[in-house]
């Protein structure tokens, strides 16, 4: 026991013993604990605080190990790996257990050059530039097909860990595949695998680009299966779907690689025939398609009902400056074929356009014609030939449009196609009954009923 400067006795031997024991920490064993038998309170306090420090350090190490294990798990699940690139030494310091590229042969990172060698798709320079400045992010394809990575580089300033870059690379192959899949599904018809209407419009817009269209003329063939509704009605939609798949396969076999085929909806397909010189090129393809489809569908389950297609053709840029205009004009030409003979093709021309426009105006005018008092009912007498007496009247609808009488032979079929016949038929029936109720003689009144009215199902209630 010696005496300190303050006059208190100091157990120097005990302090020396503690110091000796502390040397054991050099092995890195933080579980070491110091013990003393000294009665000296300062020595006891020294032992207490030394053990407190050992415990605090041991806890920090244990926490660090726990976090490191958690980090390894996070890296494994998230498929990401991290490392520091020290500057100016250019040394690689791994963060976590493995330091290479996630899901890349399990090879350890051997240096920045090794890392950059694995950047594919001509992106090496772009990724390399991330290490020049404050950092950034780049997504790049690996050298193995289908692999994609995302690398984030952030510069670390010269703190305790020194200057350099923190580099985190994540395997995003799955996400990339999913994005590709989503994009594919958004642009393709799931039944036939052909491009859908959305992709068709985008391709047409691109082809109509002024810089391109000057040198590249093209034809838009809108193809429709004849009597396809009957196929569905008779054989069911499964057979209908098989016919559509057959047709798609047939079209694929007939067009060139740089032409485009799309299913634009229902049983309507579109072929964009690129790089045509004259109308004749489009005619030849249309003829070939009609022939090939005819052969192919002749062996299908629905051959008894439908083996042919009709095609309407619009030529770009003459027949339209927009995708919608081209498709609409090709559709008009298709309508022309359908209303004529089917199993053929027709080009769009201005006459078709005029006729179609006139018809569409008439369709529009027919809606609400009753409300505008443009529809009237005229009565044609019915005679008993034997007695020569009038036995009744037939009620007949008449349409006066813009001070002109429109023939029932013209407007009734349109009214039936557009559904306006329901309104017109009801009006005529009510008018005829009201008129007949005022007749003194016991006469009959006959009213013509459209099949559309009967299908509509409200006729009995109307009559009552």
């Amino acid at each position: 026991m010696t005496v300190s400067g303050s006059g208190d006795p100091v157990d120097r031997a005990a302090i020396e013993a503690l110091c000796q024991a502390m040397c054991g920490v050099v092995t890195g064993d933080l579980s070491l604990r110091l013990h003393t038998d000294s009665a000296d309170l300062s020595v006891q306090k020294l032992a207490l605080m030394a053990n407190f420090m050992l415990e605090t350090a041991q806890r920090a190490v244990e926490r660090s190990r726990t976090y490191a294990a958690a980090l390894d798990n996070v890296q494994r699940v998230a498929r990401l790996e991290a490392w520091r690139l020290t500057r100016p030494e250019g040394e690689i310091v791994p963060i976590g257990q493995v330091c290479g590229l996630p899901e890349c042969d399990g090879e350890a990172l051997r240096g920045i050059g090794w890392f950059l060698d694995r950047v594919g798709g001509g992106q090496r320079e772009r990724v390399e530039r991330l290490f020049d400045g404050p950092g950034g992010t780049a997504e790049w394809p690996g050298n193995t097909a289908g692999t994609w990575f995302r690398t984030e580089v952030s510069a670390s300033s010269g703190d305790d860990e020194g200057g350099g870059h923190l580099v985190i690379t994540q395997d995003i192959s799955e996400r990339h595949r999913a994005a590709e899949e989503i994009r594919y599904l958004a642009e393709h018809d799931p039944l036939t695998g052909l491009a859908n209407r959305r992709r068709l419009i985008a391709c047409l817009d691109a082809a109509l680009d002024p810089a391109r269209i000057e040198t590249q003329k093209f034809a838009v063939h809108v193809i429709d299966i004849d009597r396809f509704k009957t196929v569905n009605d008779l054989y069911g939609h499964t057979t209908g779907d098989r016919v559509l798949i057959e047709l798609a396969a047939c079209l694929r076999g007939e067009v060139r690689e740089h032409d485009m085929i799309a299913r634009s909806g229902g049983d309507e397909f579109v072929v964009v025939q690129n790089g045509i010189s004259t109308e004749l090129d489009a005619s030849r393809l249309a003829e070939r398609l009609i022939g090939a489809v005819g052969e192919r569908l002749a062996t299908s389950e629905a051959a008894a009902v439908s083996t042919t297609v009709s095609i309407g053709i619009a030529l770009a840029p003459d027949d339209g400056a927009t995708a919608e205009a081209l498709l609409s004009h090709a559709d008009m030409a298709l309508g022309q074929v359908k209303s004529a003979s089917r199993n053929g093709f027709a080009f769009f021309n201005t006459e078709i356009n005029d006729a179609q426009l006139a018809r569409r105006r008439m369709e529009a005018d027919l809606r609400g014609a009753c409300g505008r008092d443009e529809i009237s009912v005229q009565y044609q007498p019915q005679l008993d030939i034997v007695s020569g007496r009038i036995v009744g009247f037939e009620a007949l609808a008449r349409w006066r449009r813009n001070n002109r009488d429109i023939s029932p032979a013209v407007f009734i079929p349109i009214a039936e196609e557009t559904g306006s016949i329901i309104e017109i038929g009801s009006f005529v029936l009510r008018e005829a009954c009201r008129e007949a109720a005022g007749w003194r003689a016991p006469l009959r009144v006959a009213v013509n009923i459209s099949v559309i009215q009967i299908k509509h199902g409200q006729l009995p209630a109307l009559v009552e």
Binding site: K45, L48, N51, F52, T56
Partner: protein, 189 residues
């Protein structure tokens, strides 16, 4: 229990009562006269409680009063003996947040590696104006903890408003909220 608690209780006895009364307290608590409590040793929780109960019995005071006095004495001693702990946490809230770590590391530091894992008595959650303490101990010394917190706050010009969210001062498991606010200037003057 950390040796520093029975050590300071003994120091308290040495300063506040005569040798005969101290001997009577130690005897009643089950210790021999002349017992020296070491700083670097763990003692049984029951021994500490017995010591406090014996003081109350021998001096005729309430246990709570004894704890209040020991808390004041303990903080005097601790601020002199371990000033570093108080220097790094200048306000009560920060010290109370740090206290579980100090307690656990001191307690575990006394144990060999095989016995290190102890149930943590204290877990502090930070509140905007104080802390929420999750206390678990078979000693049921929540009252002592509150007395220490109140006394520490007073030393730093703060008022500790203490409420029990779960349990009470005698519970083996309690959740205690300690809200701190500055002491009015008048009171401090």
């Amino acid at each position: 229990m950390l040796g520093i608690i029975p050590h300071t209780i003994d120091e308290y006895l040495k300063r506040r009562v005569d040798a005969q009364t101290r001997a009577a307290v130690l005897l009643r608590a089950g210790f021999q006269d002349g017992k020296q409590f070491r700083l670097d040793t763990e003692y049984g929780d029951a021994e500490c409680c017995a010591l406090v109960a014996a003081i109350a019995d021998v001096t005729g005071g309430a246990t709570e009063t004894v704890f209040d006095e020991i808390a004041d004495f303990f903080l005097d001693w601790a601020e002199q003996t371990f000033p570093g702990f108080f220097a790094v946490a200048p306000d009560t809230r920060r010290f109370l947040m740090m206290q579980p770590e100090i307690h656990n590391s001191l307690a575990c530091g006394l144990r060999s590696s095989g016995q290190r894992k102890v149930a943590e008595k204290f877990r502090a959650v930070e509140l905007p104006d104080g802390i929420r303490m999750h206390y678990r101990s078979s000693n049921r010394l929540a009252y002592f903890y509150c007395a220490l917190a109140r006394n520490l706050a007073a030393r730093r010009g703060e008022i500790a408003e203490i409420s029990f969210i779960e349990g009470d001062t005698a519970s083996s498991a309690a959740i205690i909220e300690i809200r701190l606010k500055p002491e009015p200037a008048l009171a401090r003057a």
